[in-house]
Symmetry: C2
Subunit: 95 residues, 2 copies
């Protein structure tokens, strides 16, 4: 299913409800720090299962207890509702 | 246990036996492409268990089926035997 790119206004509206996310390089971005690698990778595993189920995957960088996540939709050449949904799911895991 | 930084000559000697690894930004670097995200993340999980057991962790970036890995030893401010061992373990998983 193709995803529609959100407009700048739509993205700003969504970001109002995602206070831990910012725009970076045109992607939704969040950095998270955990207590150690085990906690970070355990979290990544939970996100991986959600991402695989949704067939929508993050770009992410990890070193030890630090994780950086960028969300974008390549098909849409921008941020789509899929990215908002994944950001919300990631926040819910951390709540 | 503190790790000793390898000399440039020692690193070059080790790289001779690690043909899929290069030096990038002073770190051991390897990029790997898998068939899909599931394969990539399954591999990351195997590496995570090895890394946690060795208490020596990679820097890595993943998007979908692509994985990039950088190995360095922060304590040693360079590449140590721990990085060589982790690179060898990663290669063994892929063999």
């Amino acid at each position: 299913m193709a995803s529609k790119k959100l407009s700048d206004i739509e993205i700003q509206q969504q970001l109002a409800n995602l206070p831990d996310w910012t725009l970076r390089d045109g992607k939704l971005y969040r950095a998270i720090r955990f207590v150690n690698f085990s906690a970070a990778f355990s979290f990544m595993t939970q996100v991986a299962l959600i991402a695989e189920k949704a067939d929508h995957h993050p770009e992410w960088f990890n070193v030890y207890n630090r994780l950086e996540i960028w969300l974008t939709t390549h098909d849409a050449d921008g941020i789509s509702a899929k990215d908002i949904a994944l950001a919300q799911a990631i926040d819910a895991l951390l709540a």
